[in-house]
Symmetry: C2
Subunit: 330 residues, 2 copies
């Protein structure tokens, strides 16, 4: 088994991205900036009502693994697709990005591959409506023990907690990693997801998580406070290492009593914020797994986030290693 820097487990999703205005979000009861789960009929009804789409592979952890590979890191992804055309697109794109992806598609007759309808408003904000499809069905040997052990870090998304089969896979992977002395990294995914699973997330963070990723909305939701500073203090007490992202305010890295503030990287125009957190995590995990100092890892995160919000879609359009070299970061 080839060694990896990071192996990620998450939902295997293809994004369908379209532009809309705020009135469209209001009409369809979508909360701007959030991710909501929808069943297939609701997804199809929303799809009917939306404008022309662009399909780009997505999935939070999958985006992060593509980002790690784009930095030149060795990443792997575990996630479930169906034996359908959308699944073939997902599989092609993640392998073409240089990510090890060996999870077998579900046999014909399964639920379809997961899709996320992403509505992008003129301010660049993204609002997501996810139909998970077959994606959570990770309870049939998909968690590959040898693959988990091959990586320095296993990266898990909070979204996995939304379905029991996926949550079981999450716990199984975390246990394998812990037993093998690997690090466990967690993304809190979405503030509504935090609301759904607060107690379990808090207990996980205290007991099993080595590296925590959260944005401002998620970390304040976790600690049920309106104050970022208060949430950050609590996160610092509860975690070994946390990276908290704050959009244009940059990010804060908390580790062993230290606080490192990382500015955001300016972009000429925010086109689509989809994947900003995922790509920040990519830069940070690439840096940490390759022994860079935390400040540099955070800067790589900011760089990758800046690249991703400057275009449609949550997969890098340029080689992040080249971008990092241009900026003197690698």
């Amino acid at each position: 088994m080839k060694e990896h820097d990071v192996v990620g487990i998450g939902n295997a999703i293809v994004d369908i991205i379209g532009r809309c205005d705020d009135a469209f979000l209001a009409k369809h009861a979508c909360v701007k900036g959030s991710m909501q789960l929808v069943d297939e009929p609701a997804m199809l009804a929303l799809y009917d009502s939306m404008g022309p789409g662009t399909e780009i592979s997505g999935g939070s952890v999958a985006n992060t693994m593509a980002g790690v590979a784009s930095f030149g890191g060795k990443s792997a992804f575990i996630g479930k697709t169906a034996s359908d055309q959308v699944g073939a697109i997902f599989g092609h794109d993640i392998r073409a990005a240089g990510v090890t992806f060996t999870t077998k598609p579900a046999p014909s007759g399964s639920a379809p591959t997961g899709r996320c309808l992403i509505f992008v408003t003129p301010d660049g904000q993204r609002t997501m409506n996810t139909f998970l499809g077959v994606s959570p069905e990770l309870d049939h040997g998909e968690v590959d023990e040898a693959l988990i052990k091959s990586a320095k870090i296993v990266y898990l998304e909070g979204y996995l907690f939304d379905r029991p089969e996926a949550k079981a896979a999450f716990r199984q992977a975390a246990a394998i990693a812990a037993k093998a002395g690997r690090q466990v990294a967690l993304s809190l995914s979405d503030s509504f997801c935090v609301d759904r699973h607060r107690a379990e997330f808090l207990s996980l963070i205290k007991d099993s998580v080595d590296i925590l990723f959260a944005n401002e909305a998620e970390i304040t939701a976790l600690y049920e406070t309106g104050s970022f500073d208060e949430a950050a203090r609590k996160a610092q007490a509860d975690t070994k290492l946390a990276a908290l992202t704050r959009s244009e305010k940059g990010s804060v890295i908390l580790s062993a009593g230290r606080t490192i503030e990382i500015p955001c990287m300016p972009v000429s125009k925010v086109v689509d914020t989809t994947g900003a957190g995922d790509l920040y995590a990519a830069g940070f995990l690439f840096g940490v797994s390759n022994g860079l100092d935390l400040g540099k890892a955070g800067k790589l995160g900011s760089l990758a986030a800046a690249e991703i919000i400057s275009h449609i879609g949550a997969r890098p359009e340029v080689k992040l290693a080249d971008l990092a070299k241009q900026k003197g970061l690698l």
Copy 2:
């Protein structure tokens, strides 16, 4: 039946767009800037070798109909999809663009929906590899007589000649239009396509076509000359109205002994030339079918072409009517 400005008949294709360098094209024996037809195994082998993709609905005439609708025109499209996920994407996108699209998908078990692998090189040039799939199967009542008669212009793509069933549909539609006193417009599609069907295209142009669209490579291939000026003189003799596009040299409109030169619209960066000709045709057909003078119709063509080459994909990202108003063209 609602009245239409233009009804188009063409291949129903979803584009899979990826970036590559010139060495990739050479390795895979792709002629830069051309369209080649590939069968399913060849398409899948090429797909395996290409980088991550972005899926955006395409198809030459379908792009043009989306462009006409984006200008505020009333357009319709006839084209065949399969009952699969790619077909659902095509159907969604063309309807969401405001185009009348009532062609029923083929029943389950048919060939799949057509796909085109588009390789975009750093110079913005696109090289296309099309797997037509079910698309040419237009011989089972797809050519809707009432729909053809509902439009001032029927627009046909030369690509239809590459398959006998599609060619039959082309001839059927042209005959219906002629009998109903409608105009017939033709795009020559691609210089290799012209090489394949030169004699038939020449005879069609002299006998049945009212409006001809061609780029420099296509019109010089048609008349087997290296000289654009010579090809243009011959086209002027053979046609009632022709619009010849010449990339950064703009376009030339030939009508009743008159020659109108239209400059190209400058763009800050050519990102992807896919659809430049399709969208030029959209502006021109919108203009002509709405009674604008030929010079203005040509300028609308240049405007739409400029918009399309400034981003990935061959469907407009902004409302072309708004863009035309900003430029004082509408």
